[in-house]
C-alpha cells in the first residue's frame, strides 16, 4: 500500500485496509484513552508526522526514557508515541530485528522489544527473540506517574514476558513458557549464567548432607532436594562483594 504521510486512515476505524495484527487494526492494541492522549500530544503532532522506518530511527535514537503515561493529565511519553507510530507503520520483521540488534542505542532496543511483544503473534518466536537480551544489563530511565524510576534492559524484557500491563498497555495474551515447554514447542531456557549456575548447583549438592533425594535433570534444572532458598543465599555471599 502506498505510504501515506500522516497515515490518517489507520486512525479511522472504519474501512481500515492495511496490515492486521491478530485480526484487527494494529492501533487497537492501545486502549482508546491512551490512543487519544497520544494523538493529542505535541510530540506526536510535531515529531511523528510523516515518519517512515528510517526517520523513525532518527527519533528513536534521541529517546532518553521509557514509560507509559505520566502526570495528572496522562501525558504520553515519546517512547509510547514512537511505539504507536511503529504500530501504524507495521514495518517488516527484518527492520524490527535490525532495531533490536543495535547495541549502541538501548532505548531503541527497548522500543523494538516492546513492538515485538505487542505485534508478533507466534509465542515461540517472541520468546526466542527476546530471551537473549536478558543478558543486557544496561540501565534504563523509566517515567512513572509521579517521578522516575531506574530499571534495566533485562528487567524490562522480563516484565514484557511476564506481566500483563506494561507502559500503559495491556499486553496481548502470551502463553506461559512452561506451557510451551510442555508442548515441546520450546526448549527450556538456558540462562546466560550457564556454567556458573551449574557450579552453584554442584556446590549446593556437595554442601548439603544427602537428606533427600538428589535428582539431576538435564540443564541442571530442578534442585531436586527441594531447597531453593539456598541458591540465593550462596550467591549473596559469593558475588556481592562489590557492594
Amino acid at each position: 500500500m502506498a505510504h501515506q504521510a500522516d497515515a490518517k486512515k489507520s486512525l479511522d476505524e472504519r474501512g481500515y485496509t492495511g496490515a492486521l495484527i491478530r485480526g484487527d487494526n494494529p492501533l487497537k492494541l492501545f486502549e482508546k484513552a491512551v490512543r487519544d492522549r497520544i494523538v493529542d500530544s505535541y510530540y506526536w503532532k510535531e515529531q511523528c508526522f510523516g515518519l517512515n522506518a528510517a526517520t523513525l530511527l532518527d527519533r528513536a535514537v534521541e529517546l532518553t526514557f521509557i514509560g507509559g503515561t505520566y502526570g495528572v493529565a496522562q501525558k504520553p511519553t515519546p517512547f509510547l508515541c514512537l511505539a504507536f507510530k511503529l504500530l501504524q507503520l507495521t514495518p517488516d520483521k527484518e527492520i524490527i530485528l535490525f532495531y533490536l540488534e543495535q547495541e549502541e542505542y538501548k532505548y531503541l532496543r527497548a522500543l523494538a522489544a516492546f513492538y515485538i511483544r505487542l505485534a508478533w503473534e507466534k509465542d515461540a518466536d517472541v520468546y526466542t527473540t527476546l530471551e537473549p537480551y536478558l543478558s543486557d544489563s544496561r540501565k534504563l530511565k523509566r517515567r512513572i506517574r509521579e517521578g522516575w524510576a531506574l530499571t534495566h534492559v533485562d528487567e524490562f524484557i522480563d516484565d514484557l514476558l511476564l506481566k500483563n500491563r506494561v507502559c500503559a498497555t495491556t499486553l496481548p495474551k502470551l502463553n506461559p513458557r512452561l506451557f510451551l515447554e510442555d508442548e515441546d514447542r520450546l526448549e527450556p531456557r538456558v540462562s546466560a549464567l550457564g556454567e556458573e549456575l551449574e557450579e552453584l548447583d554442584h556446590d549446593d549438592e556437595r554442601d548439603s548432607a544427602s537428606d533427600g533425594e538428589v535428582e539431576e535433570l538435564p540443564n541442571g534444572h530442578a534442585n531436586g532436594d527441594g531447597r531453593p532458598g539456598s541458591d540465593g543465599e550462596v550467591v549473596s555471599d559469593e558475588e556481592m562483594d562489590g557492594d
Binding site: 510535531e46 526514557f65 531453593p228
Partner: protein
C-alpha cells in the same frame, strides 16, 4: 445638527448617584459634559472620523486618517476607539495646538508617532484639568537665570517624557523577546525538545542511566537478577510437579481414603471458624470491601484487614447492649442523640407481620359457655340463624285456581263475554 447623544433623551446627564457596590464610571459623565459644551461652542468638525457609537453616512474617514500603514496591524485597532475621545478633545481645545495633534496629522508615520499620539492622548485627558485651573502668573526670569535653567533643565515637556518612557518600555520588551527566542533556539540546539517542556523536573529526582559507572556492581546486580529469575522458574516447575503428584495420589486412593481426607480438611475448617469469636449483641459489622484485596497489599495491611472483630470491645463499649436503656440500643453509637433519629431500630423489630404465628389462636374464652351467654356473632350472622318466630317458616307453594288452566288474558282478569 444636534450631537448624537447615546442616551436618546434631552435631559442633561446628571452626576452618577452613589449606589453601594457599583463602581462609578466617571469618564462617561465627563465626556458627556464636554460634548454638551462643544455643542454650546458650536464648533463642528467637517472631518469626522467614524465614531464607535454612531457612524454617519456623510462623514467618511478623511484621507489622511485612512493612510495608515497596514503593516502595523496591532496598532490599527487602537485607532478607531481612540479617535472618538480624541475628537472631542480637539473640539475642546480649539486653537490649542499640542504636539500630539500635529503628529496626528502626519499619520503616515512610524510606530512611535502612533504610540506618542496614544500616550499624549492619555496625557491630554489629564492635562485637560490644567487649562481649567487658574493659570499661574508668569514670573520674570533674567537672561542669566534663563540660560542657567535651559542647561539645567533635564525635564522636557510632559508629552515628550511620556513618549520617551514608551520608547524605553518597548525596547525592554523587545530585548526580553529576543532573549526568550535565543533561549528557545539554544534549548532546541542542545537537544531539549519543545514538547518536552517539563521545566519542573527536579534534578534530585533525575535517575542516572549512564552505564559503566561501576561495572563490577552492575555485573553483580545483573547476576542477582538473573539468578532470581532462574529460581522463580524452578519454583514454578516444582509447584506444577507437586500439583500433578497430588492429583495422581488422590486418583490412586480408594473412595474411603478420600472421604477420610476430606473429613479431616472440613474439620480443620470448622475449627478455624469456631476459633473466631462470637459477635456481641448488636455489634457493628464492618465489611472488608470486595476490592483491593490480595497480593498487591502489604502484609501488614492484609493482617489488619483480616483480623477477627467478632466480640471485639473497645473503650466505652458495653459488652451487652441489653443493659442499656431502650433508647441507647442502637447498632451505630455515633448516631446516638442526633436530631432526626427515628425510632427505627432494625427490620426485625419493626416488622408487623404475623407470619403464621397466630393462626391457631382463635378466641376461646367463651367456648364452654352456654348458647345464651355467647357473644353476638361478628358480621351479623348469616341472617339465617334467627329461627324463632312466625316468620321463621319458609313460604309454601302457591295454590292455583281451577279456572285458569286454559288460556287466560294476560291481565289476569276474568274473561268478558261481551
Amino acid at each position: 445638527m444636534p450631537p448624537p447623544s447615546s442616551r436618546m433623551t434631552k435631559n442633561r446627564p446628571q452626576p452618577i448617584r452613589y449606589r453601594p457596590g457599583k463602581a462609578e464610571v466617571a469618564e462617561e459623565a465627563s465626556e458627556d459634559e464636554e460634548s454638551e459644551q462643544s455643542d454650546d461652542e458650536a464648533a463642528q468638525e467637517e472631518v469626522a472620523a467614524p465614531r464607535a457609537p454612531q457612524p454617519k453616512a456623510t462623514s467618511f474617514p478623511s484621507h489622511n486618517k485612512l493612510a495608515v500603514d497596514l503593516s502595523k496591524a496591532d496598532q490599527q485597532t487602537s485607532a478607531a476607539p481612540k479617535s472618538a475621545p480624541k475628537k472631542q478633545d480637539d473640539d475642546d481645545l480649539e486653537g490649542f495646538v499640542t504636539a500630539s495633534e500635529s503628529s496626528e496629522e502626519d499619520e503616515a508615520g512610524g510606530s512611535s508617532d502612533e504610540e506618542g499620539a496614544d500616550s499624549s492622548e492619555e496625557e491630554e485627558e489629564s492635562s485637560d484639568d490644567e487649562p481649567k485651573k487658574p493659570m499661574l502668573r508668569p514670573t520674570f526670569i533674567s537672561k542669566a537665570k534663563r540660560a542657567q535653567q535651559a542647561t539645567a533643565q533635564p525635564q522636557r515637556s510632559a508629552d515628550d517624557a511620556a513618549a520617551e518612557e514608551e520608547r524605553k518600555r518597548k525596547e525592554k520588551a523587545d530585548e526580553m523577546l529576543q532573549a526568550q527566542l535565543e533561549r528557545d533556539a539554544a534549548n532546541r540546539a542542545a537537544g531539549r525538545k519543545a514538547w518536552d517542556d517539563d521545566a519542573d523536573i527536579n534534578p534530585e529526582d533525575e535517575v542516572d542511566d549512564t552505564d559503566g559507572v561501576d561495572p563490577e556492581a552492575e555485573r553483580a546486580a545483573w547476576k542477582l537478577r538473573e539468578l532470581k529469575r532462574v529460581r522463580r522458574d524452578r519454583l514454578a516447575i516444582e509447584e506444577k510437579e507437586k500439583e500433578r503428584e497430588e492429583i495422581e495420589r488422590r486418583r490412586n486412593m480408594t473412595a474411603e481414603e478420600r472421604e477420610a481426607e476430606d473429613k479431616i480438611y472440613i474439620d480443620a475448617q470448622k475449627e478455624d471458624r469456631e476459633g473466631k469469636g462470637q459477635m456481641g449483641f448488636m455489634q457493628k459489622y464492618h465489611h472488608k470491601g470486595a476490592f483491593f484485596v490480595g497480593d498487591e497489599q502489604d502484609e501488614e495491611v492484609q493482617k489488619v484487614m483480616n483480623r477477627d472483630l467478632a466480640g471485639a470491645r473497645f473503650v466505652d463499649e458495653t459488652g451487652d447492649k441489653g443493659v442499656l436503656p431502650e433508647y441507647m440500643r442502637i447498632r451505630d453509637m455515633t448516631k446516638l442523640g442526633k436530631k432526626g433519629r427515628t425510632k427505627y431500630k432494625d427490620l426485625k423489630a419493626e416488622d408487623t407481620g404475623r407470619w403464621g404465628t397466630e393462626l391457631g389462636n382463635k378466641r376461646r374464652d367463651y367456648d364452654g359457655l352456654d348458647d345464651r351467654f355467647r357473644p353476638d356473632e361478628r358480621g351479623g350472622g348469616g341472617g339465617e340463624r334467627e329461627q324463632t318466630g312466625a316468620n321463621a317458616q319458609p313460604v309454601g307453594e302457591r295454590r292455583r285456581r281451577e279456572d285458569d288452566d286454559g288460556y287466560r288474558d294476560r291481565d289476569g282478569k276474568r274473561v268478558r263475554y261481551d
